[in-house]
């Protein structure tokens, strides 16, 4: 069937900010969909609140709305744009939920918008467990025993039928938020209550647990002619019971006979037909009883997903792109396979390698949370690796995570504890399995404890055996064959060096002398049956190399690896832009990355893609093969930056700011001297390599001080310490200081205003791209603070000082490309806190706000172009307010105090655009999922320091018509100021107390500033209750002030939405 001609304008809904369970994979799929549909001549209207996405680049869609992803906001866009169709299947659960809401409230019908890809009925059958269960019964596909409950009473009745252990899955939540596994009635009650609260429609599923069964996923595609193909099978290394996003997964399925696989395939085809997903991709999850092959369906997602992104990268078959084309009427056989060119998309990819995906967690940032893995996803990112054997892929995957060295088996680990660590799934379980092998555990024992399939366990055993063999060798004794065998098994030089007690460089030298280097093979969808025209490559120790590198001028871009808090999509955005810009400049671009979620690992993004770990060894092998003209390290965040010096010393042509300058900026002493020379003030600071030094330095500098390890990202282990006792505690428990890794100590500037400046420089001229003022006060990590562009209420002289310092530093460091400086204004003085001569997290935000593609220009500067060629003013202007607001994963980490601090904990961000501050802040808050009330009751509880300003705040709230309620101290204060305010008990004072009010939904907004040095138990209770019951909770005064402006904007203004193209067109005219 040809492309539909009855529709012309298509609305695509993105997935919003990066949150756990919904990350860059939807930027990848959304971008593919936009590009695919636009190339077919459709006009594309896009809405996504996340400015760090490639899809919101103005050239990806015709009209790009960076607006909150709420039904109201999308309705306004529909009203304005009048699209013919809405594609809801490439924006994750968010887009699907919005599509359902707009269908049900009649908006789509009212404006004649057709849902394409998946119709409402199909979405509902797939999403509504009861309908789904019925549908599965009708086609005789087994499901775990289950039922739906809307109350605790119903739940108690149902558990009699379902039995323990039971899985609780709240309806319509992301990544199973609020769910869990209950082994007894006590846990059951707790989890059911939580799940009912988390579910938007207060419904949760209770399900028979099939924990320990083998888990599989199939990626299925269907076209309008009812052709169905399976793109990829995925087998989970971790058995049922762990969310697939938290499981190590392997493609293709490894332990299924053809009969088992075909049974599953038949079921998948029946299911997609029954559910009625007309076109596009769906993800279907199955469980299989390893003792008898009994098959059950777990769930189906009628849309592209994290797994489909993984499957696309694992096979080379671009699911989202093809899904978009199917949605507009093409059939699978009408779409060519990009990689083979000659064959159509109507086939099932076959692969001739093994793919392993390993999640990356961030539990270290949420120390009070439960690190057990279960049905609720907790990982923040993932790495994928490709090898010719499982062991090779697995070991490449582990090193892609960049964490292995930091894991140590506790020295006092006894057998009981080890067994517990094997039984209870956690982020480290795989390491404990490896460790158990060294203690002589058999595969049978390990299987009994972990339920991991013996085939996987045997592969780990083989790795262990190899380690033992190599451990007996030294760099002098190891034979060429043994070394090559080890490399074929995926051992890194670094690991071999550990095992042979030598240096990584020694292993590398020996390896090169023995002529042992990897070859590069292609991912081609077809197991080499057809010629591949797409250089999508992975390394492996085999005989034949297919890299076919060219002798063109080429630039290699090092990506940012797996997402983590502090290093995510923003850096991928920059890497992609470098590739786009340099392709336009006539360079061949080579991307190196190992994150399957990203746009950078789309084979379309760069001329060549190496799906490889970002380590010195792996990068060097590619450099040796490709011989690039230049290598870019400043866009991928800390990962490539950490390699910069080593690569530079190995002769790699790093372009842009020199690695030496990068090193200088990171080197406390040398950088301090530079600032002194330039007469740029810096807060008093020092560093310490021991506890004693830390005390001395801290007392010299004066408390409070900000302490952190050097060379960290996202404020890892950063703390504000107010006294010596806390400092001792920090030095003893939080960090291990050493001469190589000193602890940095800075004077903490209390109640300072913080500012981030991003700038472009060509070594001579510097263009200030954006001066962003943090809305939260000092002490809160820049990534966790909302920030506003342009700054407001900052004195001209301070702005000028920051501009001057930026230019001076850019020149002094000879910055070529991007740089980011963090300033603080305290006591009427501007201090430099930090200089990062690299792309910062805010580059995409500033680019979207100014309409100037900073990373692209920076890339051009790195290959020798000058700033003057770009016709930019000395400072980019913005003519309205752009606010960036972070989103936090606290709801996934039960037991964690959702309070902001110097350690970054946000996973993503949204942008709000408005003609005034309040309007922009309101949109940002809405975009971040904050449900700001129009009316109702506000609870106030502030620390002594904030008591003065709370009166004014309360007065404004009162004027806006809110009723106020406070605990004793604040209530009296307000009463004395003549502001009416109700009284409520603190948590331990009596009942009903404040948390009772929150739980009975009598409070609509909470303003609670923490009491500084001591965190009181009852405050945590308030904040946790707020989180659980989705009551907005603001923990800073500056945040509260901004929120009041937003509340006012909500009252007073009509929210307006404009596309980026319109905003920037107007700016261009000016």
């Amino acid at each position: 069937m040809p492309r539909r001609t009855d529709i012309h304008k298509i609305l695509i809904v993105g997935s919003g900010p990066i949150v756990i369970g919904q990350a860059c994979e939807f930027d990848y799929s959304g971008t593919q969909a936009c590009k695919a549909l636009r190339s077919e001549g459709f006009e594309i209207v896009l809405v996504n609140s996340n400015p760090a996405t490639i899809m919101t680049d103005p050239e990806i869609a015709d009209r790009t709305y960076v607006e909150p992803l709420t039904p109201a906001s999308v309705r306004a866009i529909i009203e304005r744009e009048r699209p013919d169709a809405l594609l809801p299947t490439v924006g994750g659960q968010t887009a699907l939920n919005i599509a359902v809401a707009l269908s049900e409230d009649g908006t789509l019908a009212e404006f004649g918008v057709e849902l394409i890809g998946a119709k409402l009925d199909a979405i509902k059958v797939a999403e509504d467990r009861l309908l789904f269960k019925q549908a599965m019964e009708e086609i005789s596909i087994a499901m775990p025993r289950s039922g739906y409950v809307r109350s605790m009473e119903e739940a108690e009745e149902l558990i009699k039928e379902v039995g323990f252990p039971a899985i609780i899955r709240p309806s319509f939540t992301l990544g199973g938020t609020g769910g869990g596994i209950a082994y007894n009635s006590e846990e059951y009650e707790e989890i059911v209550n939580r799940a009912l609260a988390a579910s938007p429609n207060h419904t949760t599923l209770i399900e028979q647990s099939i924990i320990g069964w083998k888990e599989y996923e199939l990626e299925v595609m269907r076209d309008l002619a009812d052709n169905v193909v399976i793109i990829c099978s995925i087998e989970n290394f971790d058995p049922m019971g762990i969310h697939t996003g938290d499981s190590i997964t392997v493609a293709p399925a490894q332990t299924l006979t053809d009969r088992e696989y075909q049974t599953m395939r038949d079921a998948a085809i029946k299911i997609i037909r029954k559910v009625g997903v007309e076109t596009g991709g769906s993800n279907i999850q199955f469980a299989l009883d390893p003792s008898n092959g009994e098959l059950m369906i777990i769930e189906m997602n009628p849309r592209v997903s994290r797994s489909s992104a993984l499957a696309s990268k694992a096979t080379g078959f671009p699911i989202a792109k093809i899904a978009a084309k199917l949605a507009i009427g093409y059939t699978l056989d009408e779409i060519p396979n990009d990689i083979t060119r000659k064959t159509p998309a109507s086939f099932e990819p076959t692969i001739d390698y093994c793919v392993v995906k390993i999640p990356k967690w961030a539990f270290e940032k949420f120390p009070a949370s439960d690190p057990t893995l279960g049905t609720q996803m907790k990982s923040v990112g993932e790495a994928m690796a490709i090898g010719r054997t499982f062991r090779e892929a697995f070991q490449k995957g582990l090193r892609s995570l960049e964490t292995r060295r930091s894991f140590r088996v506790p020295s006092d680990l006894d057998d009981t504890e080890l067994r517990r660590r094997l039984i209870v799934p956690s982020a480290e379980r795989v390491y404990f399995v490896m460790h158990a092998l060294t203690r002589g555990y058999s595969i049978e024992e390990l299987h009994a404890l972990t339920k991991i399939d013996p085939w996987f366990l045997d592969n780990l055993m083989q790795i262990h055996e190899r380690e033992c063999e190599i451990g007996k060798e030294t760099i002098e004794t190891i034979s060429r064959d043994r070394l090559r065998e080890a490399k074929r098994e995926g051992f890194s030089d670094q690991r071999l060096a550990e095992l042979m007690d030598c240096k990584e460089d020694d292993v590398r030298r020996l390896r090169k002398e023995a002529d042992i280097s990897p070859v590069f093979k292609r991912v081609d969808t077809c197991g080499a049956e057809f010629e591949s025209f797409t250089p999508y490559l992975y390394s492996t120790y085999e005989d034949e190399d297919e890299a076919d590198s060219t002798d063109q001028k080429k630039v290699m871009i090092l990506g940012s690896g797996p997402n983590r808090i502090g290093q995510g999509i923003e850096f991928d955005y920059c890497c992609c832009h470098a590739s786009f810009a340099l392709r336009e400049e006539g360079f061949e671009t080579i991307m190196v990355n190992c994150n399957p979620e990203t746009v950078s690992t789309d084979y379309d993004t760069s001329d060549r893609l190496y799906f490889e770990p970002i380590t010195f060894e792996d990068v060097m092998e590619i450099v040796e093969r490709e011989r690039p003209t230049g290598v870019i390290v400043q866009f991928g965040g800390q990962t490539p930056l950490n390699l910069a010096m080593k690569l530079f010393r190995a002769g790699v042509p790093i372009i842009g700011t020199s690695p030496e300058a990068i090193d200088l900026a990171e080197d406390r002493k040398r950088f301090g001297r530079l600032l002194e020379e330039l007469q740029i003030p810096q807060p008093p600071n020092g560093f310490a390599t021991s506890n004693e030094e830390a005390r001395e330095e801290a007392s010299r500098i004066g408390y409070p001080v900000l302490v952190r390890p050097s060379y960290v990202l996202g404020g890892r282990a950063m703390q504000i310490v107010y006294d010596e006792a806390s400092l001792d505690n920090y030095m003893t428990h939080a960090v291990e200081a050493s001469p190589e890794h000193p602890v940095l100590i800075d004077s903490f500037l209390e109640s300072a205003t913080e500012i981030d400046v991003d700038a472009l420089s060509d070594g001579e001229r510097t263009v200030i791209a954006g001066i962003q003022q943090h809305i939260e006060e000092a002490g809160i990590h820049s990534g966790d603070s909302s920030c506003v562009l342009p700054p407001y209420g900052i004195k001209q002289e301070h702005l000028d000082a920051m501009r001057r310092y930026t230019r001076e530093l850019a020149r002094a460091l000879n910055v070529v490309g991007l740089m980011n400086i963090q300033f603080a204004i305290s006591d009427d003085k501007v201090y430099v806190l930090e200089v990062n001569p690299r792309a910062s997290r805010t580059v995409p935000f500033v680019s979207k706000a100014t309409g100037v593609p900073l990373a692209k220009i920076a890339s051009c500067l790195m290959v020798g172009r000058r700033l003057e060629e770009f016709n930019l003013p000395d400072e980019l202007a913005v003519d309205r307010f752009y606010i960036k607001t972070p989103v936090f994963p606290f709801v996934k980490f039960q037991g964690v105090d959702p309070i902001l601090g110097p350690e970054m904990r946000s996973t993503g961000e949204v942008m709000g655009i408005g003609e005034d501050f309040g309007g922009a802040f309101l949109k940002a808050q809405l975009g971040a999922g904050m449900k700001l009330p129009r009316e109702g009751s506000v609870f106030l509880s502030v620390n002594d320091q904030d008591k003065r300003s709370v009166i004014e705040l309360a007065r404004q709230l009162h004027e806006l018509g809110f009723s106020l309620v406070a605990t004793r101290g604040t209530e009296r204060l307000l009463a004395s100021a003549g502001i009416p305010c109700g009284f409520v008990y603190k948590v331990n004072e009596g009942r009903p107390n404040i948390t009772d009010l929150v739980k009975s939904r009598q409070v609509d907004l909470i303003i609670n500033t923490p009491l500084g040095r001591v965190s009181f138990y009852d405050e945590r209770e308030i904040r946790r209750a707020a989180m659980q019951y989705s009551v907005p909770c603001i923990t800073t005064m500056t945040g509260a002030t901004a929120t009041i402006e937003a509340l006012r904007a909500m009252r007073e203004e009509e929210m307006s939405a404009r596309s980026l193209q319109e905003y920037h067109a107007r700016a261009a005219v000016k």
């Binding site: 006979t257 009969r259 075909q262 092959g293 056989d333 064959t343 076959t350 001739d352 080499a528 085999e542």
Partner: protein, 380 residues
């Protein structure tokens, strides 16, 4: 222990030996299926061939008697990147290594199989020799060169059953039984004569589950002998080698055309093409795998099919009373044909799957419907 795989053009791979210790020669082909190695090993169509799996990790789930497709292993030799040293599946009865040893089939592992596949893809399939006994590459290359060419080779006569037998086992209670794919049949409804050119049990199981009593006959059974069995329909199996040398078989088929409903698959389809007056030719490296897209021209419907063939029917050679019904979407070769007036149809692929997708299972139901209609026509 070392093993050598050498091709007739002189390219050599050295790897590890597994399975039996032996030296074998044959045409080297690759199969792109990611599951189903045991069914592939026992598919008689691989007689005379050394098979390479493109998927590198083989043997993970061991071997079980339930999944055999014929009376023994038919591949000459087996080539993989890695053979699993453990067996992980609830149905497994032995390891793949032991299984191959039991049937005397040698294997080579730990070679860059992708380089072998690319070599064949670019230069066409060629003869090879897999040796676990000789260390001299020259000797092994020479043995590859001395093995027979596939073109002109009648292998069906080698693999066909020695005498007539009856098949009734639908394997109804087995895991993944073909009976699950078809409407439950009420008792025995048809008598089918199955020409065995190298048939796979799953075809017989499928026919049995559709209520057919199947009489399997050797490849050279005469049309008269078949007629004497009074079949409701005739089924032509898959099989190895070149169809052209099977002139006697083709002549028998001509005599049966029009008298009985005939359904042919794979080699049976090629023989049908020849019997109807068409020609066959050798493909550069054949189709071997479980992901081949086939389009039914009348409906536009696409089936993902299991295939295993090195020869194909030439579409232009077919007389006007024949119609090409299916094509391969990868290379537009003929995948199915029918006679416009006679109850005769055939497909190049494997609707019985085993291994492979079940998308084409309905072709067997079409056969029973055809037999039903034909019988009613006879009565009328």
């Amino acid at each position: 222990m070392e093993a050598i795989l050498a091709l007739e053009d002189g390219r050599v791979w050295r790897g590890r030996a597994f399975g039996a210790r032996a030296e074998v020669a044959g045409e080297v082909v690759f199969n792109t299926a990611m599951t189903g190695y045991q069914e592939i090993l026992t598919d008689p169509s691989y007689c005379g061939q050394i098979v390479t799996m493109t998927y590198p990790l083989i043997g993970n789930y061991g071997a079980t008697e339930e999944d055999v497709e014929s009376r023994r292993v038919f591949v000459e030799g087996f080539v993989v990147r890695e053979i699993s040293r453990v067996t992980s599946n609830w149905r497994a009865q032995e390891s793949l290594d032991d299984y191959l040893k039991r049937y005397g089939i040698p294997g080579i592992s730990d070679i860059d199989t992708r380089s072998l596949v690319r070599h064949i893809r670019e230069r066409g399939s060629m003869r090879g020799c897999l040796s676990t006994s000789s260390a001299d590459e020259k000797v092994v290359i020479e043995k590859a060169r001395q093995s027979p060419e596939m073109v002109g080779l009648d292998l069906a006569s080698v693999v066909t059953c020695p005498k007539v037998y009856t098949w009734t086992d639908a394997q109804t209670s087995a895991y993944g039984s073909p009976a699950l794919l078809h409407e439950k049949s009420a008792g025995e409804r048809f008598h089918v004569v199955a020409y065995d050119f190298g048939l796979k049990h799953n075809s017989l199981r499928t026919l049995a589950s559709l209520g057919c009593r199947v009489t399997v006959v050797p490849a050279h059974t005469s049309a008269e002998d078949v007629a004497a069995m009074k079949p409701d329909g005739i089924w032509l199996s898959n099989g190895p080698g070149d169809p052209e040398p099977l002139t006697e078989v083709i002549a028998n088929l001509r005599r049966l055309l029009g008298r009985y409903p005939i359904f042919g698959i794979c080699l049976g389809h090629q023989l049908m093409g020849l019997a109807l007056g068409g020609r066959t030719y050798k493909l550069p490296f054949g189709h071997h795998g479980g992901n081949q897209p086939v389009k039914e021209l009348a409906t536009g419907r696409i089936e993902i099919t299991a295939q295993n063939h090195g020869f194909a029917v030439d579409a232009d050679s077919l007389p006007s009373d024949c119609e090409v019904t299916h094509i391969n979407l990868n290379d537009n070769t003929v995948e199915g044909l029918r006679h416009r007036t006679l109850p005769v149809y055939s497909v190049q692929y494997h609707p019985e799957a085993g291994p492979g997708p079940h998308d084409a299972a309905h072709l067997f139901d079409r056969f029973t419907r055809m037999m039903d209609r034909h019988r009613q026509g006879d009565m009328a």
